[in-house]
């Protein structure tokens, strides 16, 4: 695959993220697939921020590794990234911003000195140094100027014409400078007609999934890396009938979501680990009152405040164990942006059919990273399954909200319906909702009733289990080594598989995305057919490996865990796999 890894670095406030996003969007419009990764810090100005856009002619599975084209907007960027640029690539720098003295670029890397800063200052807006750089980058890649001009007109079109002009001049300065600096890199990246693909983050794909599923209430408290869902919902929700509420804390967030869902709207909330920890008690409340809610958990590095701007898969135990006592829950972990959309739709249907919370787990890596999608991958014509809802005008006599049924699913009435009044309770209750906690607990007849009510609720877990997918196998059916992973790590593993295959190794993968309840027998059957396994997951203790062992009795042979805040690179997985293949561990 012909590809480029474009990396831009500077300080927070230098416009690094927007430069990367503009570049990525230009690539998608030019027919390339992209995958973006932003490395930033918990600071508003200063620090060291960089972003990588990996663009290729085929779908890009991971952020990749070293950059082939670097734009250094400050000295720190040069110091850290200049030695990483791959042969055949280029470094665009401005000695007013960073000096390369004493740095050791690899052989075959072109150094392009460009007066980004001076040009921007002459034009009157220092931030425009990014636009100069963007112009240069496109010229290095042999991309015609027209798409950049169109993009600038798109972005600044609503502002004064002078601003558009200024930006165009900045872009031209950078673009034209490459002509006298050796011309394009000649990488042969096919940049052509736009096939009409989309670029979006996992967070945005989840928001779209919620819209498609008929979500009418979204609540959140700002928390990286889940905030973008709130931002998208706040900007777009009201157009689609979604009430969007930023609440005082995550306790209010989930309790409002439960209140809204109780009344009958499809309701969702989103947060990261810290906020999810606050939601724990109320999740159990939804389980006990049998209220359908969807709760999004976009993981970041813990423990505690941890690394707020870094990724991890460390909250699986939290999601599995959230809440006192046992209550039925489902946990879905989409692998990619398309699944962020489809899993959100499924989450709403599971929640309403089984009248219980569904947790959607992604992470900073997928939540904040841009991916390329075909419009056809987002089918808004989705099934909306509202479950066992009692219609208006029925006979309310003898109605029992929590009636014992074979499936454990009881008839749900939306408040406002005439004649069916009941009280949903977090105390243990009878079929009609009346408490058995206060004056009946421990009275012999009610000991039995409590047992039956627990079993009724937990039967729903078995129903959900049937609806879960077993892990998907990727690669050859028979392999010497099987790499096991879950959620967002699966895509990077796929890329590693390709590289291992190219080296002549027979390796396949098992990808878990429906995490809980576990489809035990099917999973066991699949695991019986594997020779040796390497579990790859982004946490310290191997949380999924523990789940797998607890549910199926299977213990992965080897582990590769990562908890430094950075996403897996394909080469790390390849190296660990080779270690297992060649040295047995």
């Amino acid at each position: 695959m012909r590809e480029i890894s474009f990396r831009v670095g500077g300080a927070a406030g230098d416009g690094v993220a927007s430069t990367a996003e503009s570049f990525a969007r230009l690539c998608v419009r030019g027919g390339l697939y992209v995958h973006t990764y932003s490395s930033y810090q918990s600071v508003i100005r200063g620090g060291h921020v960089w972003a990588q856009v990996r663009a290729g002619e085929e779908p890009v599975l991971s952020q990749g590794e070293d950059p082939s084209l670097l734009i250094a907007l400050n000295q720190e960027t040069a110091d850290i990234h200049v030695p990483l640029v791959t042969a055949g690539g280029a470094i665009v720098y401005d000695d007013a911003l960073s000096k390369l003295d004493g740095l050791t670029p690899r052989a075959g890397v072109r150094l392009v000195k460009l007066p980004m800063n001076a040009t921007a200052r002459e034009l009157g807006e220092p931030m425009m140094k990014n636009v100069v750089a963007l112009g240069a980058a496109l010229a290095l890649l042999d991309v015609p100027f027209a798409p950049l001009e169109a993009s600038i007109r798109d972005v600044f079109g609503h502002k004064k014409p002078e601003i558009v002009e200024m930006n165009l001049r900045a872009a031209h300065t950078g673009y034209d400078a490459i002509g006298t600096n050796g011309g394009s890199l000649g990488l042969g990246i096919p940049f052509g007609k736009a096939p009409g693909r989309l670029m979006m983050t996992g967070n945005e794909a989840m928001a779209l999934g919620a819209v498609a599923a008929g979500c009418k209430f979204y609540a959140a408290y700002p928390m990286t890396p889940a905030s973008a869902i709130l931002h998208w919902m706040a900007a777009n929700g009201p157009k689609h009938g979604i009430v969007v509420k930023q609440a005082e804390d995550e306790l209010a967030v989930i309790n409002m979501t439960i209140g809204a869902a109780h009344m009958g709207v499809r309701a969702m909330c989103g947060t990261s680990g810290g906020g999810f920890a606050l939601m724990v008690e109320a999740l159990g409340q939804a389980g006990m009152t049998e209220t359908p809610i969807v709760c999004v958990l976009v993981q970041r590095s813990g423990p505690s405040t941890g690394l707020p701007t870094k990724t991890e898969q460390g909250d699986l135990n939290l999601a599995l164990g959230a809440g006192q006592g046992d209550w039925p829950r489902a946990i879905l972990a989409p692998r990619n942006a398309q699944e962020c959309f489809t899993a959100t739709v499924r989450a709403f249907n599971l929640a309403e059919v089984y009248q219980t919370p569904v947790i959607l787990m992604s992470d900073l890596y997928l939540g904040e990273g841009n991916r390329t999608l075909e419009a056809s991958q987002l089918d808004f014509n989705v099934p909306i399954l509202r479950g066992f809802l009692v219609e208006e005008n029925g006979d309310p006599k003898g109605y029992k909200r929590y009636a014992f049924t074979e499936s454990g699913i009881s008839p749900r009435v939306l408040p406002g319906t005439k004649g069916y009044q009941y009280t949903a309770a977090t105390d243990e209750h009878m079929e009609n909702g009346i408490l058995i906690s206060d004056v009946l607990a421990g009275v012999p007849a009610w000991i039995e009733e409590r047992r039956r009510m627990m079993e009724k609720r937990m039967r729903k877990l078995e129903g959900m289990r049937h609806e879960m997918s077993p892990p998907e196998r990727w690669g050859p059916a028979d392999a010497d080594l099987t790499i096991v992973s879950w959620g967002t790590t699966t895509m990077t593993v796929r890329e590693a598989l390709g590289r291992l295959a190219a080296m002549g190794h027979t390796v396949n993968a098992l990808e878990f995305f429906d995490l809980f309840p576990v489809k035990v027998e099917e999973t066991q059957e699949i695991l019986e057919g594997v020779r040796k396994t390497l579990m790859v997951e982004g946490n310290y203790t191997g949380q999924f490996a523990h789940l797998l062992r607890a549910e199926t009795g299977y213990k992965p042979d080897h582990m590769l865990t990562k908890y430094d805040g950075e996403p897996f690179e394909p080469r790390e997985i390849v190296a660990r796999a080779l270690q297992v293949i060649e040295h047995g561990g």
Binding site: L198, A261, G284, I384, L414, P415
Partner: protein, 294 residues
């Protein structure tokens, strides 16, 4: 056909201690609902945890008996989803002013059209008698055997400061005034707080019916103008306060204003589409939504 008082009561007999102040609150609430002729199925009563939070189960309206301290956010979400329902939150002083105090402040500044009835007995009853946020300085309880050394929280003053648009205090020993206040609170468009001095006959041996009877007075009768926010704040500060003066306890409507729109009247989605619960699900033109991603 008129709704009878009996139609608001459920088959469950309240399990409160004989003489508990909460009986009067339940009576006043059913009287208010009947007076307003609200069909029971168009009323949702939300509570948290505590003796008083058992109240929804004793009514035949829709109810949600949630976890400790979270009645207001559940009620808020419910009201936003279906603004046509009459939504009432109820609970105790520990539930609302202790563990749920954060929500209390924010619910008031939001001014959703919700009525919040707090059965304030200045003690934790269900957990058998520990100090509560409204226990007065010096009160000896199981958790403060040498007496409370914190100042009591003043819910009425807090409510006025936080932006509640209807603030009242009732007393379980005066059901007639309490029913009147509750009626006005439910009818009020916006957030209404009804703080009810509801004696705990088992664990609070200080703030008894007699104690209150010697101190309460109805502010209307002394010419109080509830539209005057400064006069209202002065009334609210009569008790409890830092001085520990406890000779007079004002009851009645302390503050009331209809000058401000409710949250649901301002919400951009509800304004455009009406009650979310009545909307059609599904998307008509996905192309329109996807435009921003090209």
């Amino acid at each position: 056909m008129a709704v009878e008082l009996q139609q608001y009561k459920s088959e469950v007999r309240p399990d409160w201690c004989p003489g508990c102040g909460d009986f009067a609150v339940l009576n006043a609430l059913t009287k208010a609902l009947q007076f307003l002729q609200l069909p029971p199925w168009q009323v949702l009563v939300v509570s948290g945890i505590g003796c008083s939070s058992n109240l929804p189960g004793f009514l035949s309206t829709y109810g949600f008996h949630g976890i400790h301290g979270r009645a207001l956010p559940v009620a808020s979400g419910a009201k936003l989803a279906n603004p046509e329902m009459t939504v009432i939150a109820a609970g105790g002083d520990g539930d609302g002013y202790g563990i749920g105090a954060g929500h209390f402040l924010h619910a008031m500044r939001r001014n959703l059209d919700i009525t919040y009835i707090v059965m304030n007995n200045e003690i934790y009853g269900l957990t058998t008698g520990q100090a509560s946020p409204t226990s007065e300085k010096g009160d000896k309880t199981k958790s403060t055997p040498e007496g409370v050394i914190e100042n009591p929280l003043n819910p009425l003053a807090l409510a006025i400061a936080a932006g509640a648009t209807f603030v009242a205090r009732g007393f379980s020993g005066d059901v007639r005034t309490l029913a009147d206040i509750t009626t006005r609170a439910i009818r009020h468009k916006g957030f209404s707080l009804v703080d009810v001095m509801s004696p705990c006959v088992t664990y609070n041996k200080v703030n008894t019916y007699d104690w209150f009877k010697q101190r309460v007075y109805v502010v209307d009768k002394e010419g109080h103008d509830p539209k005057d926010i400064h006069a209202a704040m002065a009334k609210a500060m009569e008790w409890p306060n830092l001085d520990g003066k406890r000779d007079r306890v004002p009851t009645g409507v302390i503050f009331e204003t209809d000058a401000y729109p409710t949250y649901e009247e301002l919400d951009p989605t509800i304004r455009r589409f009406g009650p979310p619960v009545k909307q059609k699900l599904g998307v008509e033109s996905p192309e329109e939504i996807l435009k921003q991603f090209y």
